[in-house]
Symmetry: C2
Subunit: 334 residues, 2 copies
DNA sequence: CTGTGGTTGTGAATCGTTTAAATTCGCGTG
DNA sequence: CACGCGAATTTAAACGATTCACAACCACAG
């Protein structure tokens, strides 16, 4: 038999209201009554029914995340799992629940989820990843009145609360590193340019390279190892000038490394714009920018909780990435 | 302004009851009334409030998963993400929601979550991974009356609905493979023996090896690359007889590979009891048993939905694993 | 004209919690 | 002793759906 506020009230000879006040630390009950209520509640193991509470408070204490990539990609990139782990750790402490939805990458599959969540009142707020250029989601959420925090950069303002990655700084670290190693021509193998952070990265590299007098070339690719490898082979076959290659994630870096190995071009430097176990274990080990997804997950979640609480979100900057120099940071011998 | 059943009823000049019957396809309303209701409902974009419905039906249409490993490990193992992707794909179709909780690996952190979910009536059922020997969770869930499906094997019966992995078959595939390659002494670097599937695997290998007249040795390890590497070095330093090594996951296989490479013992075979991108990309590529986590996630979720529906769960066997032979499948030259 | 049966529909209770408003009570004060 | 006040407590109305029991209506057989 489920123990409810009604039950407690009956056993204590009190009204539901008093019990509720007592249990929620609200004023309106005497200290001795409060004690009695709390004692019985813990003895009987009372917990508020989440749905009753949600119905009454119109708040679910749950926040939602929709992941939009294809399952195969999700499996191979540790990034998301770490990010989620960070998010979860904060939610756990805040007594909130994580709703996770994974939809395919076809357009529009995600927006219906937000609409449903909003109409069903299932989530109090959502977290937005992988913004695309002219992303319709911030606008939609604004219209729905569903609070959110987006992961973005200063370069493409979202118009709503945004957790900011300092891509400009990351780009100048990368470019600076290659400049130090004597490289002049660099290739940036980007992810799909439809992603806002990919076109932002591209622009940031472009600007930083300009300042450092390096010559960047950009080639769009998807996030798979296969495509990265094939593209690298092609480019090298066509007399690529670049002596250093940036890839937008770790998996692509592996593709590049494999192509370079096969073609005997170990003199070309590689840097992955995303660190992971993968970069540490391959031979040669791959220089990478560590982005601390778990930490970013934690921070952005705190920000979302602030937004939900109506507090002005204090923390809007991602903690800075760090360059982890490994074996693929080879000098350019001209 | 939120659109509710009450609102619809008022606009249509009907009672809430009729509207509810109409919307839920229940008998009790005429066809023309039903049409009128449905038309207005779609026009106004009505969705049932999840909490009101949950309160009334005492069912939340959400299932919960508690992951118990440490975040770092979760990030490095693609296994879980794929599994979750499989689970989610079925839930999405079934109009159910996934609640995800990640707790540290300290004992007891997970059980309070189940208790809370049950008492708060937040989840209709849960999925159990990584059973340990004498796991208290099935018993707890039984007592709480929270339906579940456990991922287990026939070797350690859980006592409740279980999604069965055929470890005996996997073990004989592995042993058979090594026997074919002429190996006589094999080492199984297991994960923590506290996990039921780890001790099951050990016993299964032991039995299969006995049948095939191979001599197995078992050494317990954790799931990290570092420990696997160190352990391998130690064992080889102490004149290990084994010419073939089984590791319980892909990350450990990498550790072993790295130790063997460093010690110049490329003549020792390696097989990872878990496939992933990692095994495909390292040099040498690592022979692995592909376990299709996504597919298992889908199947076990269907099973859980059956349990929730009161149907006798039809599908209780995991789809069989496949041996992917790669470069570490070296012959034993005596 | 009455009784039976089948459709449509409504009223009201219920799920468990929150909360505004009303009530009771004790007690010090003028 | 009446009065007023604040604290403690209760009443009752939400929140938004589901569902049981019953009412109204019509048709039709006896």
């Amino acid at each position: 038999m489920r123990v409810t506020i009604n039950g407690l009230a009956a056993q204590l000879g009190l009204s539901k209201a008093s019990v509720s006040y007592a249990l929620n630390g609200q004023p309106g009950v005497s200290d001795v009554t409060r004690e009695r209520v709390l004692a019985l509640a813990t003895e009987l193991g009372w917990y508020p029914s989440s749905s009753a509470r949600a119905l009454s408070r119109s708040r679910t204490d749950a926040i939602g995340i929709v992941l939009k990539r294809d399952p195969e990609l999700l499996g191979s990139e540790p990034y998301y799992m770490s990010l989620l782990a960070g998010v979860e750790s904060v939610l756990l402490q805040a007594d909130q629940t994580l709703l996770l939805r994974m939809v395919g990458s076809e357009k529009g599959r995600d927006t219906v989820v937000y609409q449903k969540w909003s109409a069903e009142r299932r989530a109090d707020g959502v977290m937005l990843f992988d913004l695309i250029v002219d992303d319709e989601r911030p606008g939609l959420l604004e219209r729905l009145g569903l609070p959110y925090v987006a992961h973005g950069s200063r370069m493409t303002p979202v118009g709503g609360p945004t957790f900011i990655y300092d891509l400009e700084h990351e780009a100048s670290m990368i470019v600076g590193h290659f400049a130090e190693l004597g490289h002049l021509d660099i290739l940036h193998l980007t992810g799909p340019q439809i992603f806002a952070h990919e076109s932002d990265r591209r622009r940031a590299i472009s600007a930083a390279a300009g300042r450092a007098a390096l010559r960047p070339v950009f080639v769009e690719c998807d996030y798979t190892m296969e495509r990265a490898e094939a593209t690298t082979r092609e480019l090298l076959g066509a007399d690529l000038a670049a002596t250093a290659i940036i890839t937008s994630n770790d998996v692509m870096a592996l593709g590049v490394a494999s192509a370079l190995r096969a073609l005997g071009r170990a003199n070309i430097a590689i840097l992955s714009w995303d660190d992971s176990l993968l970069c540490r274990i391959v031979t040669p080990t791959i220089t990478a920018l560590a982005r601390f997804p778990e930490e970013q997950g934690r921070r952005s979640t705190r920000m979302l909780l602030d937004v939900l609480a109506g507090v002005d979100p204090s923390e809007i900057l991602a903690s800075p990435s760090e360059l982890i120099v490994r074996e693929t940071s080879v000098r350019n011998e001209k």
